[in-house]
């Protein structure tokens, strides 16, 4: 991954070209992703969908630098106003059980040399953004699943990233909680203007949330389609236009490897 000095604001915060990912296991070469091209514009909400094992989460980890890429180019050009290029929200909230909520939120801030008071202030601010200021002094085990995931979101927001990477963050929640958090996320997105890359296997969730859906399929995973969701916000859950796109995306994923559908309209 290379950083580009931003003399002028680029058109894309993330520019992936020909990304391939493979690793050796038991003497065999396993390919996870291949020939992946993806450009993401600043402030865009992009959803990555596909069956489990298609390499969606791995792609996020490559972007974060947690997993090595094998081939291709990944250029991340963060918003210069942001303090970190990216932050990741995990599928399991992954709160540290020995830290209170507020200390979990300020975890990433401890990397900076910030006075404790300022750190707490910023953590409280992030906690306020997800509406959990009251729970600052709770222990993680005292929270519900939805609250835990909101704390995880606050922890990611607290480090002021340019891009928010989310790895199936709502998949373990019940429907009502999940829908509540989806709307919460859209509100935070509007408020902060961050770029969001959202991995999910729930296509209905993807069409409700995203500007664009990247459908991954096959083994090794490759881009099957990129579809723009040209439906005005606020959207209505289950609107016909959304259902229509969802059906197409589903077909893209399940179809045998065909020529990828290009549907770029930005």
């Amino acid at each position: 991954m290379e950083a580009v000095s931003a003399s002028k604001l680029p058109d894309h915060v993330i520019d992936i070209e020909g990304l391939a990912l493979s690793f050796d296991q038991d003497g065999k070469r396993t390919h996870v992703l291949r020939g992946l091209d993806l450009k993401i514009a600043p402030g865009e909400f992009v959803a990555l969908v596909g069956a489990s094992g298609v390499g969606k989460s791995t792609l996020l980890r490559v972007l974060m630098g947690l997993a090595p890429q094998s081939e291709g180019k990944v250029v991340v050009t963060p918003d210069p106003a942001a303090e970190r290029p990216m932050a990741l929200v995990f599928q399991d909230s992954r709160l540290l059980p020995w830290r209170r909520v507020i200390a979990n939120v300020s975890f990433g801030l401890e990397k900076k040399s910030l006075p404790a008071v300022a750190r707490r202030e910023r953590a409280m601010q992030a906690l306020g953004l997800v509406g959990l200021s009251d729970l600052a002094d709770r222990w993680p085990w005292q929270l519900s699943g939805g609250q835990r995931q909101r704390v995880a979101l606050a922890r990611a927001l607290a480090v002021r990233p340019s891009i928010l990477l989310m790895d199936e963050p709502f998949s373990a929640l019940d429907v009502a909680t999940r829908e509540g958090l989806q709307d919460e996320l859209l509100r935070v997105w509007r408020q902060t203007g961050k770029t969001i890359v959202f991995v999910t296997h729930d296509i209905d969730e993807a069409v409700y949330l995203a500007d664009r859906i990247v459908a991954l399929g096959g083994k090794p995973g490759e881009v099957r389609s990129v579809r723009v969701i040209d439906v005005a916000r606020p959207r209505r859950r289950g609107a016909l236009a959304l259902q229509d796109i969802a059906a197409k995306v589903k077909a893209d994923i399940t179809a045998d490897a065909a020529a990828p559908v290009e549907d770029y309209v930005i």
Binding site: L66, R94, F107, G108
Partner: protein, 252 residues
């Protein structure tokens, strides 16, 4: 409900009372010689004598200092090496056979070397106590560090904590604390046994005072020190539990 739970709380006291009564009866009814089995009622007097001649305070003080030093040395070395081999495969590999060879040797088997290296001295006692503590704490720490969920380490990396020291202090040590404390608590009891054993060989303290008393057939004094040890251990364990409760207050 409250009545029966109150009765249940009385049971342990009742049991203790019955035990003391039985103990007192044995020598009094002539079923056991008073020299071989001192009665509980003889003990306060024996205790006061030991207190008056200053032996009790001196012995307890010395034993506690052996205990504390041995425990600290053992804890420090055990946690330190456990963390090292828990974090580094190279360190683990290097130490694997050394630990396999040295571990089965009981702490008491080191007594000859303790005497040769340190003489019959405080340091000798500390050495023997520390060895016992070391192995318990070492294996507990090593296992606890190895057992830390990889997901936490990934989390630390995702938030920029990539160095080994950052990993240790942000994630590994806090996550391993419950496991390390289990080892430390076991060591707390183990060290107490080692104290007596080390002192039986002559280093001044509770153990050596007991040996003196027994050679004079002053069995009441032996029992006084037995109970002293029980009380001290109970005190330590209570203190330890308080510290542990504080360290693990994040647990449900």
């Amino acid at each position: 409900m409250t009545k029966s739970s109150f009765a249940y709380r009385l049971l342990p006291l009742l049991g203790l009372f019955a035990f003391l009564l039985f103990w007192e009866a044995m020598p009094r009814l002539g079923l056991a010689s008073r020299v071989l089995l001192p009665a509980p009622s003889d003990l306060p007097d024996a205790f006061m004598r030991e207190l008056a001649n200053g032996m009790w305070l001196k012995s307890v003080g010395l034993s506690l200092s052996h205990y504390t030093l041995g425990l600290l040395v053992g804890l420090g070395a055990g946690i330190g090496l456990g963390v090292l081999t828990g974090m580094s495969n190279v360190a683990e590999g290097l130490f694997a056979w050394v630990s396999r060879v040295l571990r089965p040797i009981p702490g008491l088997a080191w007594v000859p070397f303790a005497i040769i290296w340190f003489g019959v001295s405080q340091s000798g006692a500390v050495f023997i106590i520390a060895i016992g503590v070391f192995w318990i704490v070492y294996f507990a720490t090593h296992g606890a560090i190895r057992g830390v969920d990889r997901d936490y380490i990934e989390l630390a990396k995702a938030f920029g904590f990539t160095g080994p020291l950052e990993r240790l202090f942000k994630v590994l040590l806090p996550a391993a604390t419950p496991g390390i404390l289990v080892g430390a608590r076991t060591a707390l009891g183990q060290a107490w046994m080692a104290v007596v054993a080390a002192e039986l060989f002559g280093v001044t303290g509770l153990g050596s005072r007991m040996m003196q008393a027994s050679s004079l057939l002053a069995t009441d004094i032996v029992v006084v020190y037995m109970l002293t040890m029980a009380a001290l251990y109970g005190l330590m364990d209570t203190f330890f539990m308080a510290v542990q409760g504080r360290l693990l207050r994040w647990k449900p």
